[in-house]
């Protein structure tokens, strides 16, 4: 294992390379892209959750000032192809504009193109759509019933995906265990809600035959999918990655937006831009996250050892499929959490309803699953009258058991869960925390301590795709980096994706600096567009520290080898006799016998006569690599290695509740975190702070609520409540480092840190607070009203 001190730049506190640009207001976002003669789009959205479109009258809109064009589904669907459908459900087609029927309130029905967004909005109001309302279904359990209205009648049912995986002797464990519990945990529909909504600008050039796209994206294979839907060859779409993305954490997919705008610019021959307003984003932007309930069953013994777990997860993906059902698939890779549970049954069920389609959200389904597992652990402890910390420690995989293969087939790389939890408890001074809680309780208020210990699978081997759809035989999850050293000796790293605040420029410059022993401040990082880029799977699944970091390191090592080879050739010695130091190469034991960086660069670029035979001139290297442990197909019983690396986090939180109003207040918060070697600790901590705040939102505030008639009831920030600085308490983060044996520097991913455990920890704290009343809440978000109702129900029950 590598000692942290052996690094020069990795792990050092250093200002992120991107900060000066953002702090001084020099970011360049989609809304900053102004193309000459650019037109703007406004949309007409369905007011019904389910209806037949009888007629669309566009004449008045076309006559409105500044209007260029009105597009309806009829024309659009005839000239483009459906967006990709991840699971095997070919009839669940999906287009940006509805044709014949609408399947959710907010679905786009027509697009107006005008000189300005305001004029387009004015004209959109003049479009008259006649609807014939059809029966709809909002509740996922109702949607599974035989007589339910069908969201996609051609598919034959509302069930999109269902399978029962049995990994290990589940029934035997349930038959023999001393105790069993069963309960339902409910994860409310929430998301990441970036300040920047989705936006895309596009320009078709009839001369070159290239469609240029600038978009606020975080989407694997985006250029390819846009090209396919537009029936273009792949090399006719050029996506520019040098656009700053104003927040994403999963939701900035934007395929339907880009295909729509691409079609419009091609048809009209003028540049077109569409930037969602907030309502379009929240209601019709297809960015709502998992909406899921878990029927949990656990079999365990009196000593707290958990023998088996059954999880039935029913996820409501809304009206269309896309990649969202896969959010039930990723958790397979950490289905038993950090616990050595020998037998697991997992029954993922993906259901369609007449709600806004679901999209990827931070963790890709892992945070809801962690919440269900961590509630289960607390319920086991409560059932046995044991301390929940004891139950966790009793079941944790021990550090000497790694690499550890879980029943579903993934192997965890490394970890020391006991150490991190102990460190976290020490940091919060657990003994005094318990006393503080008990003191609050004595004063007549409610207080509870919540703990969650869980995993962040990282590295983005998305093999759940082939697991859930054997027809989708994809096992390649590469990433890449190109490194160039120019004639002046300056280093440039070229990456192949846009960034939504993850700090990829800091990552790559740090890694290149580390390997080449050059100051990262002097290293530039730029982005190739999609026609010049090397293959990438984009920054999803906490993969970039591992994959882009690894690719940059690989390319830098090649540069280093090249420099050494040049020196060896000129010293007429073997590379083994040389050593690389601060960018120059000298003969071992004779530090004055050396070639400097500048000399070597000069030879590479200008002195072919001094270049070793066979070496390519110039100084550049590309490195493309497959995700560690990737490449395998699932076994028949559905065992498969998915993500390579597993970070661990332990949350300890104290929540106080006003018993008269039900208002919860987070009093203390400490999070212990082990993501291996941190390349940039400030970025990791920033991610973790934000992740915890995001988790507080999912736990207590945020919900895309629907009325019975299928209307989104939280379409503004007055009703979709994101925690503000006032709701997020002081957070303390405790670092720990168990390096990963699979990665270049021992790093693991951390883009989902904090979010993966915060909802569980807070829910456990609220339940600990309610425990003396005999009440419990297992549904998120835990609203003030829900707490008050739980308290009231118990008080009522007590007094009768």
């Amino acid at each position: 294992m590598r000692a942290m001190t052996s690094f020069r730049y990795i792990g050092a506190k250093r200002r992120a390379k991107e900060h000066p640009r953002f702090v001084s207001g020099r970011g360049r976002f989609v809304a900053d892209i102004a193309l000459p003669g650019m037109k703007h789009v406004a949309l007409v959205a369905s007011p019904h959750a389910s209806a037949r479109i009888v007629s669309i009258k566009i004449e008045k809109a076309l006559a409105a000032p500044g209007v260029l064009y009105v597009l309806t589904g009829e024309e659009f669907c005839a000239n483009t192809d459906s967006l990709a459908i991840g699971v095997d459900a070919p009839k669940v087609t999906r287009f940006a504009l509805a044709k014949d029927v609408v399947r959710y309130a907010g679905e786009w029905v027509a697009a107006v193109v005008a000189d300005s967004r305001a004029l387009a909005e004015d004209a959109a109001e003049r479009i008259e759509v006649e609807y014939e309302p059809l029966p709809h279904v909002i509740d996922p359990e109702a949607a599974l019933k035989a007589d339910a209205p069908l969201v996609h009648p051609a598919h034959g049912s509302n069930l999109l995906y269902h399978r029962t995986f049995v990994w290990g002797p589940v029934e035997e464990a349930f038959a023999n265990a001393e105790h069993k519990i069963a309960f339902r945990a409910v994860w409310g529909r929430s998301a990441t809600v970036p300040i920047e909504t989705f936006g895309v600008a596009a320009q078709w050039d009839a001369g070159t035959g290239i469609l240029d796209i600038w978009a606020s994206i975080q989407m694997p294979k985006f250029p390819d999918q846009v090209a396919r839907a537009l029936r273009f060859p792949g090399n006719a779409v050029r996506v520019h990655h040098d656009v700053d993305v104003g927040g994403s954490y999963g939701v900035k997919r934007g395929l339907k937006h880009a295909v729509l705008v691409g079609y419009l610019t091609k048809t009209l021959g003028v540049p077109v831009r569409f930037i969602e307003d907030r309502l379009e984003n929240l209601r019709g932007g297809d960015m709502q996250g998992p909406d899921r309930f878990f029927d949990m069953q656990l079999a365990f013994d009196t000593d707290g050892a958990i023998r088996a777990m059954k999880i039935r997860a029913v996820d409501d993906v809304g009206a269309y499929a896309g990649r969202s059902p896969f959010q039930l698939g990723k958790p397979v890779t950490a289905i038993c959490g950090p616990y050595a549970i020998g037998a697991i049954e997992y029954e993922p069920t993906s259901v369609m309803t007449n709600k806004t389609p679901q999209e990827a959200v931070r963790g890709f389904g892992q945070s809801p699953t962690n919440f269900a597992i961590e509630r289960a652990i607390d319920r086991v402890a409560r059932h046995l009258g044991m301390d929940s910390i004891e139950v966790r420690k009793r079941n944790f995989i021990r550090k000497d058991q790694f690499p550890y293969t879980i029943p579903s087939g993934s192997t965890y790389d490394s970890g020391d869960y006991h150490a991190v939890l102990d460190k976290t408890l020490a940091a919060i001074d657990y003994g005094s925390l318990v006393r503080a809680r008990d003191e609050v309780r004595r004063s007549g208020r409610l207080a509870g301590i919540g703990i969650a210990s869980c995993l962040e699978p990282s590295g983005g081997n998305s093999a759940f795709e082939v697991l859930m759809n054997p027809k989708n035989e994809n096992t390649t999850w590469m990433d890449s980096c190109l490194v160039r050293v120019d004639l002046s000796g300056a280093i440039t790293g070229v990456i192949n994706n846009s960034s939504a605040g993850q700090g990829h420029e800091s990552l790559v410059s740090t890694v290149l600096g580390e390997i080449l022993e050059r100051d990262p401040e002097t290293i530039r990082v730029v982005r190739a567009d999609s026609l010049t880029a090397l293959p990438s799977n984009s920054p999803v699944g906490s993969r970039m520290a591992i994959m882009l970091g690894g690719a940059a390191a690989g390319a830098a090592k090649t540069i280093k080898e090249t420099l050494t080879a040049i020196a060896a050739h000129n010293f007429e010695c073997s590379p083994e006799d040389l050593e690389y130091h601060d960018g120059s190469v000298n003969v071992k034991g004779a530090s004055s016998k050396k070639f400097s960086w500048d000399q070597l660069v000069e030879i590479a670029h200008r002195k072919f006569h001094k270049l070793p035979p066979g070496l390519e001139p110039g100084l550049q290297a590309k490195f493309v690599w497959e995700v560690p442990t990737g490449g395998a197909l699932p076994t028949p019983e559905g065992r498969i290695q998915i993500y390579p690396c597993y970070a661990f986090e332990a949350h300890v939180v104290l929540v106080e509740i006003d018993p008269d109003t039900g208002k919860p207040m987070i009093r203390r918060y400490v999070c212990g975190h082990d993501c291996g070697v941190m390349i940039n600790p400030d970025i990791v901590h920033g991610m973790t702070y934000g992740g915890i705040a995001h988790g507080i939102g999912a736990a207590l505030y945020e919900k895309f609520a629907y009325t019975e008639d299928g209307q989104l009831a939280s379409g503004t920030f007055m009703d979709y409540l994101i925690p503000s600085a006032m709701e997020v308490p002081a957070l303390a983060i405790v670092d720990h480092c168990t390096p990963s044996p699979l990665t270049t520097f021992g790093q693991k991913g951390s883009g989902e840190a904090g979010y993966l455990g915060a909802p569980a920890a807070i829910a456990n704290a609220v339940n600990d607070a309610l425990d003396p009343l005999g009440a419990s809440i297992d549904a998120l978000p835990i609203s003030h009203l829900a707490i008050w109702s739980a308290i009231g129900a118990r008080k009522g029950a007590a007094s009768t």
Binding site: D660, T661, S714
Partner: protein
């Protein structure tokens, strides 16, 4: 302008409610009449039994005025719950009252203290009691051609006068689910000589309970009396339900918060 264009003209004060509603296309004025530069609408004057504020006075100015805080402390106490520092820097007192959100803080203060609204139109001026001014959710009895010019806030003269404002919202700075305001005056013995209290968010307009408050006069405002009054008031409310709070929850909160406001006001009065 208002006389000529009637309903299609709207006054623009701080814009903190009007502009978002325009952005959502919920309000579409043909004319916007900016009153931000009209000096006579922007002042604070503290007199013997009354404090007067111009309608277009910024909420932050009212919040920071020491003389006003000394005579009508409830205003400052309420204002700290109104939105955020940023919105109070723009938002005006008159805009908040004219907007008449049933959950808003300043309309509740106006109801509880019995503030009077001076309304002016091209035809002349008239004064309306708060009780008559607020006519329903987001509705007032001001006519489309009238501008709210001044608000007169009664100042109590008892030396031992205490007041308090409290509320509960899901997040800090949100409109309250329920709010409560109270003001009490006590004599040298600690007996109540006058009381006023009310709740917001528990009906179509903020509610004051003068009859129930009158029953507190003569008591020592002990917890039981306060609690009775608060519960009697809560029983009179007819709140609505929404995503965040059911009617039953709101009615319960009305009782809890009214009692808290009354107790806190009493403690302030006792400390004088």
């Amino acid at each position: 302008m208002l006389a000529t264009h009637g309903e299609s003209a709207k006054l623009l004060a701080g814009g903190q409610s009007l502009v978002p509603m325009m952005a959502m296309r919920l309000v579409r004025p043909g004319w916007l009449v900016d009153i931000n530069e009209i000096a006579v609408l922007k002042f604070v004057a503290v007199e013997k039994d009354v404090a007067r504020t111009g309608a277009c006075t910024r909420q932050c100015v009212v919040e920071r005025d020491e003389a006003l805080a000394a005579r009508v402390p409830l205003l400052r106490q309420a204002l700290k719950w109104v939105g955020h520092i940023q919105t109070r820097n723009r938002g005006t007192v008159g805009g908040s009252l004219a907007h008449a959100d049933p959950c808003a803080e300043l309309p509740l203060v106006a109801q509880v203290l019995g503030a009077r609204m001076l309304l002016r139109s091209a035809k002349g001026a008239r004064t309306l009691e708060a009780e008559k001014f607020f006519s329903g959710p987001m509705a007032t009895s001001a006519r489309p051609d009238e501008c709210l010019e001044e608000i007169h806030w009664p100042a109590w003269s008892w030396r031992r006068t205490g007041s308090a404002f409290t509320e509960i919202s899901v997040r800090h700075g949100d409109f309250a689910m329920v709010s409560a305001a109270a003001q009490v005056a006590i004599d040298g013995d600690g007996r109540c000589v006058r009381a006023a209290f009310g709740v917001g968010g528990a009906g179509g307009t903020p509610l004051a309970f003068p009859k129930i408050a009158a029953r507190l006069v003569g008591t020592r405002l002990d917890d039981a009396a306060v609690s009775d009054a608060a519960h009697a008031a809560a029983a009179e409310t007819q709140p609505g339900s929404d995503l965040h709070a059911s009617a039953e929850y709101r009615r319960h909160l009305a009782g809890v918060l009214a009692a808290r406001a009354l107790r806190e006001a009493r403690e302030r009065a006792r400390s004088l």
